[in-house]
């Protein structure tokens, strides 16, 4: 197990290195200059500013410098937020996204699982159809539509929660988290329902029932555990996406998150911030895939994480 984890960690770093390299060179193909006032400067000034930001050097040299700094954990200086490090920028903007993502994930998954289980246990009844309908809505309607609806009804019309902004404590996070939660909620409900219906009809459950196991025991001890594996597989990448922010939902609720920052850094050619955010997103994804792999083993001991021929 330890050997496996060690090996995976090495692979994770190699993956990150490859992503950093690919995105560095891809970013160089972005049209335009990262210097906003480029057309206001004369040639001498352009040369001086480019030198100041180190973008006058040949690309391989810039790459070597970037990777050297990256090894030290330094993501560079933003071109847009003058004199501010990308590390600081990401640190300030990551917190709201993390809070929203985590809340959405936890709420969405728990409610989704409960709905899915209800649907499976009450197969072909009103509860089943209701929860399926809810899941279809959650999957087919994008989160920004939910965001607008929640904002309109709950905040603007009924004044129960803030319309937006990030200055009202926990209240500010409720509506955007709910909007983001619809995705994982629907997904969990659908997966759990399908898997559980299948498991509930399998021979060993019929046997368990025959042996007198009660409904609760069957649902949680046997069926649910089996249904969790495929769910975790899809929820992993979804969690990375949620935690690292959702551009539109953050924009609708005027939340200073990381998702919105990523897009605006691309629009302004803020190379250092683009790289920093890309690496952060990648690191999250890689880490979550790793955690999912470990969880497989925990949920189902038949799946071995030691790799190799075992």
């Amino acid at each position: 197990m330890v050997k496996y984890i060690g090996k995976r960690i090495v692979y994770m770093f190699i993956t990150l290195f490859l992503i950093a390299t690919a995105s560095f060179f891809l970013m160089q193909t972005l049209p335009g200059s990262p210097i906003a006032s480029y057309n206001k400067l004369n040639d001498t000034q352009k040369a001086i500013v480019e030198k100041k930001y180190g973008i006058d050097k040949p690309k391989p040299v810039q790459y070597a410098i970037y990777m050297k700094n990256l090894a030290k954990g330094d993501l560079g200086t933003s071109f847009v937020f003058k004199g501010k490090s990308v590390n600081d920028l990401l640190a300030t903007r990551l917190k709201p996204s993390l809070i929203l993502g985590a809340q959405a994930m936890v709420f969405g998954t728990i409610v989704g699982i409960l709905l899915g289980m209800l649907a499976a246990l009450k197969h072909n009844t009103f509860w089943d159809y209701g929860s399926t309908f809810f899941a279809i809505l959650g999957i087919s309607i994008p989160s920004f539509v939910f965001a607008s609806l929640l904002q309109y009804w709950i905040a603007s019309e009924w004044h129960l929660l803030p319309v937006g902004l990030w200055n009202d404590g926990w209240k500010s996070s409720v509506l955007p988290s709910l909007a983001l939660a619809m995705g994982p909620l629907a997904l969990s409900a659908r997966f759990i329902r399908t898997e559980m219906i299948e498991v509930l009809n399998s021979d060993y459950i019929i046997l368990a029932k025959a042996k007198g196991a009660n409904g609760f025991e069957i649902a949680f001890k046997h069926a649910f555990r089996n249904a969790l594996i495929p769910l975790i597989t899809v929820l992993g990448p979804l969690a990375a996406g949620l935690v690292t922010g959702s551009l539109v939902v953050e924009q609708i609720f005027a939340i200073p998150g990381i998702g919105e920052q990523f897009v605006s850094s691309i629009m302004t050619n803020d190379h250092a911030t683009i790289m920093g955010t890309t690496l952060l997103f990648s690191a999250f994804l890689i880490l979550i895939i790793f955690i999912v792999d470990i969880l497989y083993g925990v949920i189902d001991p038949r799946i071995r994480v030691s790799g190799g021929k075992g």
Binding site: P31, A36, Y38, Y53, S156, G164, T268
Partner: protein, 576 residues
């Protein structure tokens, strides 16, 4: 089973109706059309501009809630290059002059009007007894240091060289590393006397003095903060009406607090202004309606939806938008090198409808380059009255030019590309141009290329476009701010336009005519005629306006036609 289906259907209907209700907004307003009634409505809306001298006793609580469209990238006066940064600077710092409530530059850190030498080359400013927020006096050396820092190539200031080159003595040479910084034409004669020597007489020099790049900086403070200077609210020093607080350098919110050490603090009524970044205009409007914002900008559909609202105000701006016609692409002449083709396109689209229906935000159709209500001559006459209209919409004339142009080129049809922005408003506008131009000019096919701003800058820089929707907002109050854009090889020309007669007029306005205001304005009028009527080098489209929802109790806001957007110095709350 049957009952379940009905339930699903009902639930679906409910969800759809909720969705449609939310999309429709809270009011059943008619969509405006381009008929006469709407023009009347426009006129009525125009009158609803917030007055600057409104009555009303200030309330006990003077706290304002505002929004900005972007975070603050920097508040270092040498480095600032964006609108939000200049807005913040204008409210927390102050230069020798400040734009007053009538947008006239009046002495601020200067105690009195500057003394100008007869040749117009030396300006002497006596400083008032003003203090920094740390209770140390503002001195002449603070200006010397700030100006030298802004032109120092090592600072990498975008606006320092842009604003000082050809204006302040030796600025160009210093910015090109050909001269020492100490050679800049600025001097602290004594602690309270600051002297500037210019390269040439600059008639608009005093209006530059209200621009952020020329603000003072206390050397000792800047040095003590080193690289951290102006990176958060703790590393800033104010000498203006407000102090910036709660700004962490990268976040989306900040607060202005009244600066008790400001020389004119008794005229500053607001105690606090809380600002949040709200990028989505629809959210800004909802926050406004929920009482979380006292002013919200509207655009596109929102502007159409709310422009007749009692609290809607129109704010005319001085940014002018126009087609740039690129005459050379990939080293080869484009069809737009033909003056008749340019004239045909310039006259073939209806501007009034575009401003009223497509933009619907208080923008005005433009038949000019230098905006209206911006530059005034010695007798305070608007430059527009002097220069008149050019390149007005006229389909018949457009078609004549088109026919002639095609004959001269020896072709029967042309395919041209319009390069525009990727925002919803830009796309709508481009569609309108395509429909109008193709409809009025037979044989013309327009393709649209809609890209983000940074990409457009790149294509512009490489002259890789046919027609571009471009715009310019002035940094100071003088027609030259616009006229200088199109001189041969100008940094913003980038369309291979060249007319020696035009160049000569612009050069004269900077040289021989610099101290002859009347003749200088005549030269500008003549140059504008050449640029538009004779050469149709560009085709004016509109002068931008903005529509805001503005709480009636929020009074005294001053919006500026150039430089920073707003001064909160005179703003107050009354009757909330």
């Amino acid at each position: 089973m049957k009952r379940n289906k009905w339930l699903i259907l009902m639930a679906l209907t409910l969800v759809l109706s909720m969705f449609l209700a939310a999309c429709g907004g809270s009011k059943d307003e008619e969509k405006p059309t381009a008929d006469g009634d709407d023009k009347d409505k426009d006129a009525a809306t125009e009158e609803k501009k917030h007055a600057k001298d409104e009555d009303g006793e200030p309330d006990a609580e003077q706290v304002l809630y505002l929004s900005e469209r972007a975070a603050i990238p920097s508040v270092d006066s040498s480095i600032v290059e964006d609108q939000v940064g200049f807005n913040v600077l204008n409210n927390i710092n102050e230069g020798l002059y400040r734009l007053n409530q009538d947008n006239i530059a009046e002495p601020a850190m200067a105690a009195e009007e500057a003394k100008v030498s007869e040749d117009g080359l030396t300006y002497t400013f006596k400083l008032r007894d003003a203090m920094w927020a740390d209770e140390t006096p503002v001195t002449a050396n603070d200006f010397v240091y700030a100006w030298q820092r802004a032109i120092d190539p090592a600072t990498g200031s975008p606006y320092g060289p842009f604003m000082m080159s050809g204006v302040v003595k030796n600025a160009t040479a210093i910015s090109e590393e050909k001269m020492e910084i100490s050679e800049l034409g600025v001097k602290a004669v004594d602690e309270k006397t600051f002297e500037v020597t210019l390269e040439r007489p600059v008639p608009y020099f005093l209006s530059l003095m209200s621009f952020g790049t020329f603000y003072p900086l206390k050397e000792e403070f800047v040095a003590s903060k080193a690289d951290a200077f102006a990176t958060n609210s703790d590393s800033l020093l104010s000498n203006g009406p407000f102090v910036l607080t709660k700004w962490d350098g990268t976040g989306d919110s900040w607060t202005y607090v009244k600066n008790e050490h400001y020389w004119d603090a008794e005229n500053v009524k607001l105690n606090e202004i809380h600002v949040n970044v709200v990028k989505d205009p629809a959210t800004a409007v909802k926050l406004y309606q929920d009482g979380k914002l006292d002013r919200a900008e509207m655009s596109g559909d929102l502007a159409q939806q709310y422009r007749d609202d009692e609290e809607a105000v129109v704010q005319p701006e001085t940014s002018v938008f126009y087609f740039k016609f690129n005459q050379e692409r990939d080293g080869k002449e484009t069809p737009l090198a033909n003056v008749n083709i340019r004239k045909a396109i310039a006259k073939a689209f209806e501007k009034q409808d575009m401003a009223d229906v497509v933009l619907a935000n208080g923008s005005l159709p433009a038949n000019f380059l230098v905006p209206t209500n911006f530059a005034f001559d010695e007798n305070e006459k608007d430059f527009r009255e002097l220069s008149g209209d050019h390149l007005e919409y006229n389909v018949e004339e457009a078609q004549d030019h088109w026919k002639k142009g095609l004959e001269e080129l020896g072709v029967e049809s042309l395919d041209l590309e319009i390069l525009g922005g990727d925002t919803e408003a830009s796309k709508k506008m481009d569609e309108y141009f395509k429909a109008q131009l193709e409809g009025n000019l037979e044989g013309l096919t327009i393709s649209l290329k809609e890209v983000p701003f940074s990409v457009r800058l790149d294509l512009d820089g490489n002259q890789d476009y046919d027609i571009q929707v471009s715009g310019w907002g002035p940094d100071f109050q003088d027609p030259i701010s616009f006229m200088d854009l199109f001189v041969t090889d100008g940094t913003n020309n980038l369309m291979s336009y060249s007319n020696p007669e035009y160049d000569k007029l612009i050069e004269d306005s900077k040289g021989d005519l610099a101290l002859k205001p009347e003749e200088r304005y005549e030269a500008f009028a003549k140059a504008e005629k050449i640029l538009l009527d004779e050469d149709a080098a560009i085709a004016p489209i509109y002068q931008r306006g903005l529509i805001f929802l503005h709480k009636p109790y929020f009074k005294g806001l001053v919006d500026h036609p150039f430089g920073a957007d707003y001064s909160y110095k005179w703003a107050y709350i009354s009757g909330k």
